[in-house]
């Protein structure tokens, strides 16, 4: 898996085949450049970066304390002190949105990481033991979890465990791991039969180590793309669960909770619903564009289009 020739570079397309020989920093740089080339990938990336910024640096970026109540000025419209207005307790909506970014990123990142690690791990094991009982058992597990409508399963888990940030992450991760599992399993199966695996085996390397070594780069691309889209959906579900009161607990500022409050006061203050709705939508668009850009960047065939 050598680096592509100079010809491709001249054609303006950066080679992004992942190999184990190249430095990760190189790969990253080249991937990012390719993503940006895709229409919208740039904007998606910028907004995602913005969200990350808000998540990490909420306390410095946010203009006010998200929990600071000011009953005298509740339901206020936009003003200089409160760019997006205030909610039913007089809290600054903009600050709550920024802190909501933090929850959104934490939940989605956590859930996606957990589910992808567990899923890929199980998927590789399953693929490696193709045909044996272990394989059938793991597939059975995947199929069971996949049979549930995802949000309903997450709902049930949080309902049983009790609403909290951690439980939300666990519940969401549980509903998502089979998808990564199946992708990983499929990759494992195809790599298993590949000629270079047989060749390496013929040279005396241990089968499992070979497969592990060759699967990782092959899996990375589809999994990373899944991650991007998944984060978007997780953000939505966290909001949904919190909207139902089955997610993060108030007074934590999550977009879902803001929507819940907004719903209660829908007749009084449209702004309470509008801003978190906009935030969620834009987060979704941003992640979609970014992961679409990632997908095109990582798929050598796609780049020909």
């Amino acid at each position: 898996m050598e680096m592509q020739t100079a010809n491709q570079k001249e054609a303006g397309m950066a080679p992004v085949q992942l190999t184990l020989k190249r430095k990760w920093s190189d790969t990253l740089r080249v991937t990012l450049r390719a993503v940006v080339k895709v229409k919208g990938g740039l904007w998606g990336g910028i907004f995602v970066g913005l969200m990350l910024l808000c998540a990490i640096g909420a306390q410095w970026i946010s203009p006010s304390d998200p929990d600071a109540q000011d009953i005298a000025h509740r339901f206020a419209g936009p003003s200089f002190t409160h760019f997006l207005g205030t909610d039913y307790l007089g809290r600054d909506i903009l600050s709550r949105i920024i802190y909501g970014c933090r929850i959104a990123i934490i939940v989605s990142f956590g859930a996606v990481t957990l589910s992808s690690i567990v899923g890929v791990f199980l998927g590789v094991i399953s693929g490696y033991n193709e045909g044996k009982k272990l394989d059938y058992f793991i597939i059975w597990l995947f199929d069971i979890v996949r049979s549930f409508p995802q949000i309903i399963l997450a709902l049930a888990i949080v309902a049983v465990l009790g609403p909290s940030l951690f439980n939300v992450v666990v519940a969401l991760a549980f509903t998502a791991f089979p998808f990564y599992g199946r992708v990983a399993r499929a990759q494992t199966l195809s790599v298993k039969e590949a000629d270079y695996v047989k060749a390496a085996e013929a040279m005396g390397q241990k089968r499992f180590r070979i497969i592990l070594k060759h699967i990782t780069p092959n899996i990375l691309a589809p999994v990373i793309v899944c991650l991007g889209m998944d984060m978007a959906t997780m953000i939505i579900w966290e909001s949904g669960l919190s909207f139902l009161g089955l997610g993060v607990r108030p007074p934590t500022a999550s977009w879902g909770i803001m929507l819940r409050n907004g719903y209660k006061y829908i007749q009084t203050s449209p702004l309470m619903i509008l801003w978190p709705a906009v935030a969620i939508t834009m987060a979704m668009i941003a992640f979609s564009l970014f992961s679409e850009g990632l997908r095109v960047a990582l798929d050598p065939k796609e780049r020909e289009r």
Binding site: W140, F148, V160, L161, S239, F243, I266
Partner: protein, 313 residues
Amino acid sequence: MLKYTIKRTLWMIPTLLGVLIILFSLTYLMPGDPASAMLGPRATPELVAELNQRLHLDKAMPVRLGYYLLGVVKGDLGTSVWSGHKVSSLIAQALPHTVLLAITSLGIAAFIGILLGAFSALRRDSPIGGAVTIISLLGVAVPDFVAALLLMLLFCIQIPILPALGAGAEGDLVDVAVHLILPATALGIGWVGYLSRLMRESMLDVLDSDYIRTARAFAVPRDIITYRYALKNAVIPCITVIGLGVGKLLGGAVFVEIIFSRPGLGKLIVDAVYARDFPMVQGGILVATILFVFANLLADISYAFVDPRIQYG
């Protein structure tokens, strides 16, 4: 054809068994004592003991599992702790509303989405293609419950022309239909967006294919090429997607029912969760899951109808 259906259905059995096992084991996840949790503030030692006995919570696990599975097979999903009615009858009352909502929104969305997609593929140069793309991006981006809230904000509060709550007076078709407009739109908007884009791409792909070129080389009339040859091939990925999407739809229906206060399976489940009515939650989720699995099965089978290559695979 039949063989394929049977094969697929048989594989469902162990899967459903697993589903039942998971639902069953949910009780074990609950922190604390299930019976007191279910009774909540009403819990007195006598009531707790009575509930324990009734729900067999005091027996060993294999026994409980046995009771549970037996009940399910008989169609008895237990009794709602909160209302005292049988779970199965409560579900039977609520289900038609959800099904109506799902079918309406999916049906209309599929119809509009597929047509829009096909149309924008055929009129490649007109601005319609661009407009469709933008609309579809927006449609996909806004999650269904957010869309529901925004629609409610716009059409019930700001411009009060549509009813916000309820499903409409039973038997009055017009009223029911009017009450369906916003919820169905909220659920369907994402689908219209997604399907129209998918259909457009699929159609463009198909129109470029070799077999369409063959048809053109033999002067097959344009409308036959488009509406028979191309459409049947292009629709295939849409059907798969629709099948897979029923699950998302069920999830979305939950929110839409809560937001618009419509009776339905989703509202039933969520209300049961609030009330810690465990048998109701279990039963509701079971039915929702069965519906989901069944819908996927149907989608798979209909896929085989459309694409004859599948059955032989």
